[in-house]
């Protein structure tokens, strides 16, 4: 049962296409898991449809319809969508990993924590984190926005408990020490649009290495 959802502004940003790629990846991954946010997103898209319809038409060239048919080269519409492939991770995430959970190229970053940076456009970064059960991510604050989506396991911080599918939205006001819940490792997708601020000495030294 997902308890922590995307904010309206994230859904509007995704629907309008204004989010950095890393944030769009997190939104698409959460929506893959959450019917409620999918419905909210489709409602946002309907606003886009209304805006499109209200645009004052700009005439196409006379040959444009013929040119479009030529682009199609006699192709008939696809009858139905291809069956989505199943996996441990939702499809958008698998596309960025280039495979499923087993294909993640983890790198150790100390204390048993592992991470894998995913390739996204500049402006924000995305990474997968693997936090062993009961382990804490170093205490840190944020200079921008940090979104964390739990894929498996769970973590707790001073604000709440976050289980599979939950999203924590952390901004500059939050300083926290997320701790993976006991039992199983916590795997999550974390995206940031600015470097994190670590409070301890050791983590600050680690920061260039962590690339966050």
């Amino acid at each position: 049962m997902i308890r922590h959802h995307l904010s309206d502004s994230l859904l509007t940003g995704y629907s309008t296409g204004s989010l950095p790629e890393a944030f769009s990846l997190l939104v698409a991954t959460h929506v893959s898991l959450c019917d409620e946010c999918r419905a909210r997103l489709e409602a946002q898209d309907a606003v886009g449809g209304a805006v499109l319809e209200s645009c004052e038409a700009v005439a196409m060239s006379d040959s444009s319809f013929a040119a479009t048919l030529a682009l199609l080269g006699g192709a008939t519409p696809e009858r139905e969508k291809p069956a989505p492939s199943a996996g441990v991770f939702p499809a958008p995430l698998r596309e960025y990993i280039g495979g499923d959970a087993g294909s993640v190229r983890w790198r150790p970053v100390g204390g048993g924590v592992r991470q894998a940076i995913l390739p996204t456009a500049k402006g924000a970064s995305a990474r997968l984190l693997y936090i062993p059960a009961g382990t804490a991510v170093p205490d840190h604050g944020h200079t921008g926005t940090e979104l964390t989506l739990v894929l498996s396991g769970a973590f707790d911080d001073a604000t709440d408990h976050f289980g599979p599918g939950d999203v924590e939205i952390a901004d500059e006001d939050l300083e926290h020490t997320p701790v993976a819940a006991p039992g199983e490792p916590c795997i999550c997708l974390a995206v940031t649009d600015a470097p994190l601020r670590f409070n301890g000495l050791i983590p600050r030294l680690l920061q260039p290495f962590l690339k966050i």
Binding site: S9, A28, A50, V51, T68, L71, A75, A83, A86, A121
Partner: protein, 168 residues
């Protein structure tokens, strides 16, 4: 739209083209594309509409909404050159025969949404339009509140619930 999907009806496609291609072109120009680029991309968008017609589900989106999502993705592609991660499709896809009543109610909801958008004070409506033209930063988007989404949200939610029920 459904005639295009089921019967590859070129006549129906021609009338969709006449209605939407000039609006997609206008949308792309307002998003910062030159008229020439917008013309080419509007053709691409309409070609995609034809190819993917089978994926259109009238119980979950109006034709305008569906074409908007295709045009938006094309815009991200050409103007930002970013990849666009899309949510995984629902595994059961659209029903073979979309429920007529659901599609009709969604249509009415969409019309109400358009009317509500048109009735907003000018500055508020302009802000929303600029957001959809890709012209607002995320910080500015956070200021957009009170979109008239109420009815359509519950309608789409009902459609999703029904899809789930067909599984059990």
């Amino acid at each position: 739209m459904l005639a295009v999907a089921r019967n590859a009806d070129q006549q129906a496609f021609a009338s969709l083209f006449a209605r939407f291609a000039p609006r997609v072109k206008a949308f792309l120009i307002k998003s910062g594309a030159t008229p020439t680029l917008a013309e080419d991309c509007a053709q691409d968008v309409m070609a995609t509409v034809w190819r993917k017609a089978g994926q259109f589900d009238p119980t979950r989106a109006s034709v305008a909404t569906w074409i908007f999502t295709i045009a938006r993705n094309r815009r991200i592609d050409i103007l930002r050159r970013d990849r666009r991660p899309e949510p995984q499709d629902l595994p059961w896809g659209p029903e073979p025969e979309p429920d007529q009543l659901d599609a009709m109610v969604l249509q009415q909801d969409t019309e109400r949404l358009s009317a509500a958008l048109a009735a907003l004070p000018d500055n508020q409506r302009a802000l929303i339009e600029r957001a959809y033209f890709g012209d607002l930063s995320h910080g500015e988007i956070a200021r957009i509140t009170g979109l008239p989404l109420g009815t359509i949200k519950s309608r789409i939610r009902l459609a999703l619930e029904k899809l789930r029920q067909t599984m059990t």
